[in-house]
């Protein structure tokens, strides 16, 4: 019964969301909604960020000093909070990416032993 939940969507590993937010911001400042859209689009509509987790994550990252934020006016003349990557955030992203790569390689090695 409980396994039913897993069939429909992929669950994010803890910490992965943070990494993806940082990665998204590498292209330039973006507001929360835009970040959500970007992650969804880049994952081929597979990853839908739960809104309940997005804002806590953004504020957590800001508190860590990895992203900064400012209020800007959008093209539609609306006030929106834009997040941008800080220097520390760039460093953090680099670390997380290399760790992620190692993890993916490791898992891949296990799943396809013939190739190694």
């Amino acid at each position: 019964m409980a396994s039913e939940r897993y069939q429909n969507r992929l669950e994010l590993l803890q910490g992965t969301l943070d990494m993806m937010i940082l990665r998204t911001l590498q292209w330039g400042p973006q507001h929360g909604h835009g970040i959500g859209l970007a992650i969804r689009a880049n994952s081929g509509e597979v990853l839908r960020i739960e809104h309940g987790s997005l804002y806590p994550a953004l504020h957590r990252l800001e508190k860590q000093g990895w992203i900064g934020s400012e209020w800007r006016i959008t093209e539609n003349k609306q006030r929106a909070r834009y997040y941008r990557l800080t220097r520390a955030g760039k460093k953090q992203l680099a670390q997380e990416q290399s760790r992620w790569k190692r993890l993916v390689d490791a898992v891949a090695g296990v799943m396809q032993p013939s190739e190694s």
Partner: protein
């Protein structure tokens, strides 16, 4: 509810962190607008788009709440959040909240009440500037006991020679006077004080002026009186016009009321309420005062000193040792071997010799109530543990959303602290009520006003608050740490049952501790109850039934010794002529009464064994017929007679214990001994009385002897009348007779001998401790049973599935019940084993307060244990019975 939610959602966030809260709100608003636009662009209708965007976003309040948690840094804001959240949690579970708050309130209340009593009697500093520098002086002479009454000449010498260490030294002696003012006569407990008394203490008058250093020097001079604030309030309606008016002391001496002492000052004599202050010179009014200003053998002055700033007590004691040896050399007749020392006043209540015993009793009762608080805390901890496991899921969700572990622990601690604070508030209310109840205990008309000034005071409040906060932290810490440690993935994905076992073990240990604590309390209560029973049924050696006592002070009518003796004779003759009276006599002391006297003895031919103090014996002053009235058998010799007059040889009757001690194998009759106080009149032994009780109900009988009123006059007298009829009915009649014979004498105090035995010095102290211990024992039992019931119910509920399975497989209800009871018995017996050992240790510590019962009395231990087991099994039976009613099919279907 809706208003509350509005406050919570909109007003508080703005108030607490206005910019960020508004920002977050705007941010979310922007998100929703974007999302709505996106959906409209995709072709949804605007209304539908707005609705679905909002639905997909989820609980906006929860999201912003969790997001705000990420800010962390604003500790005030998070604290407030925690508080608000905690309130909401508590309100959501009213049953749990009520149980926990009530439990804590009872525990804290009992502690507050008792601490109030201990504080007001033993710990509260004197209401004078720098009370920590006030010291009380005491001395030891040769091997005698520590004494606190100095002679006036000794006081003067000490004062003159100690100016290096003391700012000043003061003396006071106490007495009872009859005061006639504004047409009303009243009996007062007064202090005769040296002129520097108030200046040294640093007190300012509430009204008028106080006694001044120039006063009180020459015997009989300076007829002035200062009233206590309380007496002024109660007897003169706080009328400021009283200052300057005239009053009459003991119906003979005119005095001027010069002022009122400050509010809250009750004199220096601990536990007693001093009602007025007169200069030391006025003590000459007392018929027994003698040449007190010059005779070093007359010791009646309590001596206090104020240490100079920066002078340590040790230094003062060094100085006093030198002064003592000088006094001994200068006056070897009275002061040989005198060794003086000072004690800080607060550490020497009621007097330096018995301060440690008093403190012991206080600590003992504080420990017992502390135990009750501990039991209460354990109960709340247990309730919180149950709730923590119910909230495992909530905790896991919060962790998954990124709430830090510290944050969770803080949240849970805030909740339990809130509980503790509510409990503390309730405890203060209960404590106030209980201390009011305690201070209204009727201490049965003792002659001297006892100071029962038990009032709410900030340090008591601080104590209760500290107790509550400590209780909250202890109670909250364990479940909080456990809950925050919850295995997130396991809880979210599975049913989370794996954690339960460990938690149950902790709860079982806690319940065992509760059982042992309540067993201790019950055993102490039972020992006290048996002591009370034994005290009430003890063979007193006299017959208290059918005896009426009326106490008066002949001096208050202005009688000299000769007049007082004549009055006693007239009174007895008048009473003996009344119908129904079988016997009447007068005594100074009544058994278990307030007044008593004792004297150091010189017994020719008796050598105290090495290292022992000079012999002391209690004595009573009586008239002929006393032994008949009290029905104390006179074993040998004769009673006092009218022929024993001041100018004939002084005579005494001794008790068996005294005969045995000093003349073990000889006939005491015809031998003599002397009192240290009265070496001029050796006492010839004329009779031996059977031993009787004076101030205790068990143990060896005290050494006691009796002397005649005619030969050793005292003005404080109790006329005792044995009557065939009811002694209560006789009391008003006796009081009328006394007023008739001695007009102007303040109203005498009437009491039956049976009542007298039940006063504070009699069985009342056992009654108080038995009632107190019984209340604590009942409370402890109740708490332990709630804990036991809770744990068994909880674990039975947890095992519903298992029990259902067992029953489906053919287990009968009896074996299920037995299984539940067995689980209970494990906890109970562990608790009993621990409790019996601890109770034995504790009971040994209280053995001084027991009457005719061993601290390890097997009957008490067995019956209390039996009672506890019966009640405990009943507490287990209810959930056990419920378990047998489990429907196997329903139970198995749960998962």
């Amino acid at each position: 509810m809706t208003l509350w939610r509005k406050i919570r959602k909109w007003i508080l966030p703005r108030f607490l962190a206005p910019d960020e809260a508004r920002d977050l709100d705007e941010e979310i608003g922007f998100y929703l607008a974007q999302e709505t636009q996106l959906r409209i662009d995709r072709g949804e209708s605007p209304a539908h788009a707005r609705e679905s965007a909002r639905r997909d976003f989820g609980n906006r309040t929860l999201v912003s709440e969790i997001t705000r948690e990420m800010w962390g840094g604003h500790s005030m804001e998070t604290l407030f959040q925690d508080l608000v959240y905690g309130f909401r949690q508590l309100r959501r579970n009213p049953g749990f909240t009520a149980a926990a708050v009530l439990t804590l309130a009872l525990g804290i209340g009992a502690n507050t009440a008792l601490f109030s009593v201990v504080h007001s009697l033993l710990l509260r500093p004197l209401p004078v500037p720098h009370p920590d520098r006030i010291a009380v002086l005491a001395f030891r002479q040769k091997d005698a006991q520590l004494a606190t009454q100095f002679s006036y000449p000794d006081y003067q010498d000490i004062r003159r020679q100690s100016s290096a260490v003391f700012a000043d030294v003061i003396a006071c002696q106490f007495g009872l006077i009859g005061l006639n003012a504004r047409g009303q006569a009243g009996r007062m407990f007064v202090n005769y004080v040296t002129g520097n008394y108030f200046t040294t203490l640093g007190l300012k008058p509430a009204l008028g002026r106080l006694i001044e250093p120039s006063e009180g020097i020459h015997p009989g001079a300076d007829p002035v009186v200062v009233l206590s604030w309380t007496y002024w309030q109660s007897h003169f309606g706080a009328d400021p016009g009283i200052v300057g008016s005239q009053a009459k002391v003991d119906g003979q001496r005119e005095v001027t009321i010069i002022g009122v002492a400050p509010k809250g000052f009750h004199g220096l004599i601990p536990f007693l309420e001093t009602q007025a202050y007169l200069p030391m010179s006025m003590a000459a009014l007392d018929v027994n005062s003698g040449d007190y200003m010059h005779d070093r053998a007359l010791r009646s002055c309590y001596v206090y000193s104020r240490l100079k700033p920066g002078v340590a007590l040790e230094k003062a004691n060094g100085e006093l040792a030198v002064i003592g040896s000088r006094l001994a050399a200068q006056d070897p007749k009275d002061d040989s071997g005198i060794a003086i020392s000072a004690f800080l006043e607060r550490n020497a209540r009621p007097d330096p010799a018995s301060a440690s015993v008093t403190m012991m009793a206080a600590i003992l009762f504080l420990a017992l109530t502390g135990l009750v608080l501990l039991l209460a805390c354990i109960n709340v901890a247990n309730i919180l543990l149950v709730r923590a496991s119910a909230r495992t899921r909530e905790m896991a969700v919060r962790t998954a959303l990124g709430a830090g572990r510290v944050r969770l622990i803080r949240q849970l601690l805030t909740e339990s602290l809130l509980l503790a604070l509510f409990g503390g508030a309730g405890g203060v209310l209960i404590g106030l009520w209980a201390s009011r109840a305690l201070s209204s205990i009727d201490l049965a008309s003792v002659a001297v006003p006892l100071l029962i000034d038990i009032r709410f005071d900030w340090s008591v409040f601080a104590f209760a608050l500290a107790a509550a906060v400590i209780a909250g932290t202890i109670v909250g810490a364990v479940p909080a740490v456990r809950a925050s440690r919850a295995d997130v993935a396991g809880v979210l994905h599975g049913s989370g049952r794996g954690i339960v076992a460990g938690r149950n073990r902790l709860r079982s240990v806690l319940v065992a501790v509760q059982v042992s604590g309540s067993l201790m309390l019950l055993i102490i209560a039972a020992l006290f109850a048996r002591s009370l029973y034994n005290a009430q049924r003890a063979d007193l050696g006299f017959d208290p039934h059918h005896v009426a006592n009326v106490t008066y002070d002949a001096q208050e009518a202005g009688y000299s010794a000769a007049q007082g003796r004549a009055f006693a004779g007239r009174l007895l003759a008048r009473i003996r002529s009344m119908p129904g009276v079988t016997s009447a006599s007068i005594a100074f002391a009544i058994p278990m009464g307030y007044w008593s006297s004792s004297s150091t003895l010189r017994v020719p031919g008796y050598q105290p064994p090495n290292g022992q103090t000079a012999p002391m014996a209690a004595y009573n002053v009586v008239t002929p017929g006393y032994f008949g009235t009290m029905r104390i058998p006179l074993l040998r010799g004769r009673d006092f007679a009218a022929t024993d007059q001041p100018d004939t040889p002084h005579v005494a009757i001794i008790n068996q214990a005294m005969a045995q001690r000093f003349w073990p194998h000889r006939d005491p009759i015809g031998r003599e001994f002397t009192m240290f106080d009265d070496v001029k009149h050796p006492l010839h032994i004329i009779g031996i009385a059977k031993d009787s009780r004076i101030d205790n109900f068990s143990g060896p009988y005290p050494l006691e002897f009796y002397v005649g009123l005619d030969q050793n006059y005292v003005s404080i007298q109790t006329v005792q009348v044995r009557t065939a009829a009811s002694p209560e009915a006789l009391l008003p009649e006796l009081q009328r007779i006394i007023s008739g014979l001695a007009p102007g004498m303040p109203l005498s105090l009437g009491q039956t001998m049976t009542q007298a035995v039940q006063t504070l010095n009699g069985t009342l102290r056992y009654r108080i401790s038995a009632m107190f211990a019984a209340a604590l024992g009942t409370l402890g039992l109740l708490l332990a049973m709630i804990g036991l019931y809770g744990v068994i119910s909880y674990s039975t509920a947890q095992r519903t599935h298992e029990i259902g399975l067992r029953m489906a497989l053919g287990a009968n209800p009896w074996s299920v019940l037995a299984m539940v009871l067995r689980q209970g018995m494990v906890m109970i017996s562990a608790g009993l084993a621990l409790g019996l050992v601890a109770a034995g240790v504790l009971a040994r510590a209280v053995s001084a307060f027991l009457v005719n019962v061993s601290p390890l009395d097997p009957v008490t231990y067995a019956s209390v244990t039996g009672l506890l087991v019966a009640v405990a099994l009943a507490a287990c039976y209810i959930p056990g019975r419920r378990a047998t009613k489990i429907d196997p099919m329903a139970a198995l279907r749960i998962d």
